[in-house]
């Protein structure tokens, strides 16, 4: 409730007048000589209660009339009566993440959300300011403008294949509203409120800004989704090598049925299997020729189509040639033997090798012009000066300090290679740069905050990888784990130029290969790669092709994020935690229009006030005329009392 003329409310003090008159004030009473006092006494006695009741009724009527007149004059407005709202800054967070493509009944969830957005925009005024944030496309800037621009943005929104980070979207919305000049601000969260879309606890991401959110209470169906796909156990197959594809289904409590999955390679079905909720199945992948291979695994369509298919792409290449310098120890030797036995690598001389495993820096001086080096420090620190000299000779600007860190630290890092995940360092050297660090240097792994694996390239462009720990059991857990073979294979593959199979989800920022000039999206759209060398807007699941002119440089598969397939909705009790303290959850579409624009001016209701006041005045007149019933008759009598007997 508000008032267009609030100053008039001060006139409400007038209400006190009849009350004071009734309770305290007496007229300047005249005194009458009146012998028939006994009749008055009798009347007072017989009608005292009735008179008091009538006086009270008159008082209440007059007070009510005054209040109504004040209300009409102040032009009170009531939110419940509809009406306009003050100019409001609104951020519409439209969740177009993959799960919004879910079909319920005959409609997509996203279509319902867009219809709600339209309700918001239908109730908007020209003074309102809108931003539209597509939660499923976080790389897209918010679309700003009036209701018309927002409507166009909403209409153009399609379900992305990406993950929806609603917590981040809400923080972003609050930041946008922080820049708004309007006092009234709201966030309209239009989402299926998928639990995995929130970071819990949210710690009030909206900072107290009112949030109106859609809380659909429809039951979500069991989703038969493929959540993981692994080709060759994570290692890309080599030329002519047979391998297998392993896929995992989303676990669902209520779904015990099995369904069919098909393996499609280069447009042809190459195998099939069955899956049940939470299970894995493996389909053999025939040997492929040298070159890029792309394919996917698919299941029959269900209510959510986007996660019924998972893509892969790899380059079938020759096994990389690997040379060993120095005494590498039993762990490296065994891993090399395994990989060579499975034709993942080939042994060669140092000069021809694509990768040199340089124990204590041995062999660096004999490298070929394209030989990358994996430099492993010695177990004995007294050998370090010799290693440092070799590094200096090879123009690698790093040196090992004899300070040996001890303890147990898990390897971490933003670019931590998959084979190093879970590995721990027990002893490691301090690796320090010599002079200015080379611009191409990148820390791949850290142990307790110190570099453990450093990647770089020398002035000749030859790549190297420095490890801080010797590959022995007393220095790191890597050699005694199953990851050792994969680490060597990864190193060989990575440094041989083929690369491993990256695991990207839709929405990820794709780093472009150095030689690529364009990227071709799964839909066929081709975009030039900009100076950031990063591809954004990867909302389409599928295989992205990096090309340079007409030459294919690389293929990268992007798959729907597994979490998006979990359709479990956030419990309404967690809304305040996840969304904010000022959240208003609406579960009925017809209630949305009333819930938004919470600081409505409302409808002005001066006319019913006046009507009721007029009605009450009539009632008051009737009451008053009842008590003045004898006046007219008295008026016919000669004037008497005032002039007759008033005593001084």
């Amino acid at each position: 409730m508000g008032a267009l003329n609030p100053l008039f409310l001060a006139a409400g003090i007038a209400v006190a007048v009849p009350i004071i008159l009734h309770l305290f004030h007496r007229h300047e009473t005249r005194r009458f000589n009146f012998p028939a006092l006994r009749y008055l006494q009798r009347t007072e006695k017989e009608h005292a209660r009735q008179i008091r009741f009538r006086q009270l009724l008159l008082l209440l009527t007059r007070v009510a009339v005054l209040l109504l007149l004040v209300g009409a004059g102040a032009r009170l407005i009531f939110a419940g009566l509809g009406g306009a709202h003050p100019p409001t800054a609104v951020v519409i967070v439209l969740d177009n993440s993959m799960s919004s493509g879910l079909v319920l009944g005959e409609r997509r969830v996203l279509d319902d959300l867009k219809a709600l957005a339209h309700q918001t925009l239908d109730g908007a005024s020209d003074e309102d300011r809108f931003w539209v944030i597509r939660a499923g496309e976080p790389w897209m800037p918010a679309i700003t403008g009036g209701a018309a621009e927002a409507r166009a943005a909403v209409d153009a929104t399609e379900a992305s294949g990406g993950v929806g980070d609603l917590t981040a979207a809400l923080v972003r919305a609050a930041e946008l509203l922080g820049t708004a000049e309007l006092d009234d601000r709201e966030i309209h969260l239009l989402s299926d409120m998928q639990r995995t879309a929130f970071t819990l606890p949210g710690n009030d991401p909206t900072g107290g800004i009112p949030v109106v959110t859609w809380a659909d209470d429809d039951e979500t169906p069991n989703n038969r989704a493929l959540t993981e796909l692994l080709v060759g156990g994570g290692l890309p197959p080599l030329e002519g090598q047979r391998t297998e594809v392993t896929m995992t289904a989303l676990d669902a409590v209520d779904d015990t049925a099995r369904w069919t999955v098909r393996l499609v390679v280069d447009g042809r079905v190459r195998g099939a299997g069955t899956l049940s909720a939470g299970a894995q199945t493996t389909i053999a992948l025939p040997a492929t020729a040298l070159g890029w291979v792309q394919g996917h695994v698919e299941s029959d369509p269900d209510e959510l189509r986007a996660d019924d298919r998972r893509y892969f792409a790899f380059r079938a290449r020759r096994a990389p040639s690997v040379a060993v310098g120095g005494a590498t120890g039993v762990f490296v030797s065994e891993a090399m033997a395994v990989l060579e036995g499975s034709r993942r690598i080939r042994s060669s001389g140092v000069g021809e090798a694509e990768l040199l495993i340089a124990q204590d820096g041995s062999g660096l001086e004999g490298r070929g012009p394209a030989t990358a080096a994996l430099i492993v420090p010695p177990e004995d620190a007294t050998v370090l000066p010799a290693l440092n000299r070799r590094l200096a000779d090879a123009q690698i600007p790093w040196r090992y300090e004899p300070r040996l860190e001890t303890g147990e630290a898990e390897l971490t890092g933003e670019s931590l290679p998959e084979p190093l995940r879970g590995a721990r360092a027990l002893r490691w050297y301090d690796v320090v740069s010599v002079g200015d660090r080379a611009p191409t240097t990148r820390t791949l792994a850290e142990a307790a905050g110190r570099a453990w694996a450093l990647e770089g390239s020398d002035p000749a462009g030859r790549r190297y990888l420095l490890l801080a720990s010797p590959l022995v059991a007393s220095a790191t857990t890597l050699p005694v784990s199953a990851s050792m073979v994969r680490f060597i294979d990864w190193t060989a593959s990575e440094w041989a130029g083929a690369g491993s199979l990256p695991d990207y989800s839709t929405g990820a920022y794709l780093p472009a290969p150095a030689e690529a000039t364009h990227v071709r999206f799964p839909s066929g759209r081709e975009v030039e790669i900009d100076a950031t060398r990063t591809v954004r807007g990867t909302s389409e699941p599928g295989v992205y092709a990096f090309v340079a002119a007409d030459t294919l440089v690389a293929l990268v598969a992007l798959n729907p994020p597994a979490g998006e397939s979990r359709l479990e909705a956030l419990d309404e009790r967690d809304y305040e935690t996840a969304v904010g303290q000022e959240v208003d959850a609406v579960s009925r579409a017809d209630a949305w229009a009333r819930a938004v624009f919470q600081t409505r001016l409302g409808g002005e209701a001066w006319w019913p006030f006046l009507w009721v006041a007029a009605l009450l005045l009539i009632v008051e007149s009737l009451l008053a005329s009842t008590r003045r019933g004898g006046t007219r008759q008295a008026e016919r009598l000669p004037a008497r009392a005032e002039t007759s007997s008033a005593l001084p």
Partner: protein, 282 residues
């Protein structure tokens, strides 16, 4: 007063009447059979000679009706709601009494008067003749409103003193102790008097004055009452009407005539009430 009373009375002497009481006076009325105890002087000896039976002669009683005018001169009687235009109740009562006396005397009745408030303040014995009226007027004129009204004592005292039956006319505003006054009137009636009550009422007593709130006080008792006049006006009117009805209701069963006399009403109308009463008496 004499002039006004004469003016009022002229139109109302509607014919003389005879005493309803038969006695032994000069004018023969009839004969009746002798009964033991009859006065032997009234035996009609001629009839005895003719019929050999004793008859006694009866005559029309020529004695006049004895009337007593009882005038309330208490403080409340001196009140007028509009002194400039309306007479006080006492003024009206005195002139009404004078008029009644003139009517009665012209009919040959004897008229007496008593003025009272808490006690009898003046009294004139009942006599006939023109000089009696002048005496009454002379005694009425100086009466002034004063004192309270305890009518019962005065009325009882009068009842004792009025040995011969007659007509008792009470002129009062009846702002008196109600039950006691009723008892006294019934006492008069019990002693064989015909009783006529003129209830004098100022129009200002029927209607409250124009004021939203006022303080009223009783000149006799000095009691005060603060009243919201507007709130109580209609109820007050009903209360007055109810009080008058109660007087009427309580007096009628005892054959006591009751007449409300508004002081803004022509006095002749009040005399009509008297005549009506007188006609019923025969």
């Amino acid at each position: 007063m004499e002039f006004i009373a004469r003016e009022v009375v002229e139109g109302f002497l509607m014919g003389l009447h005879r005493s309803p009481h038969r006695g032994f006076s000069a004018e023969f009325a009839e004969l009746r059979a002798y009964q033991a105890g009859d006065d032997l002087r009234y035996i009609d000896w001629r009839m005895y000679g003719r019929s050999d039976r004793y008859y006694v002669k009866q005559f029309e009683e020529e004695t006049n009706l004895r009337s007593y005018l009882l005038l309330d001169v208490s403080e409340s009687m001196g009140w007028s709601s509009s002194p400039g235009t309306l007479p006080s109740k006492l003024w009206y009562a005195k002139h009404l009494a004078a008029s009644l006396a003139l009517v009665l005397l012209r009919q040959g009745d004897s008229v007496g008067m008593a003025a009272f408030h808490n006690r009898i303040v003046d009294r004139v014995n009942a006599r006939g003749g023109r000089r009696q009226w002048h005496e009454l007027v002379r005694r009425l004129e100086p009466l002034e409103a004063q004192g309270g009204t305890v009518a019962e004592g005065a009325l009882r005292e009068l009842a004792v003193r009025l040995r011969r039956r007659g007509l008792v006319v009470l002129l009062s505003d009846l702002l008196v102790a109600r039950e006691e006054t009723l008892t006294a009137l019934k006492f008069l009636r019990h002693h064989g008097h015909e009783v006529l009550v003129f209830h004098l009422l100022d129009p200002g007593e029927r209607e409250l004055p124009q004021a939203s709130e006022a303080r009223f006080f009783d000149p006799e008792t000095d009691e005060e009452l603060l009243v919201s006049v507007a709130d109580i006006r209609a109820e007050y009117r009903e209360a007055v009407r109810g009080a008058l009805s109660e007087w009427q209701r309580d007096l009628r069963p005892h054959s006591i005539d009751y007449e409300v006399v508004d002081t803004d009403r022509p006095m002749s109308l009040s005399l009509k009430a008297y005549l009506h009463k007188r006609e019923r008496l025969g």
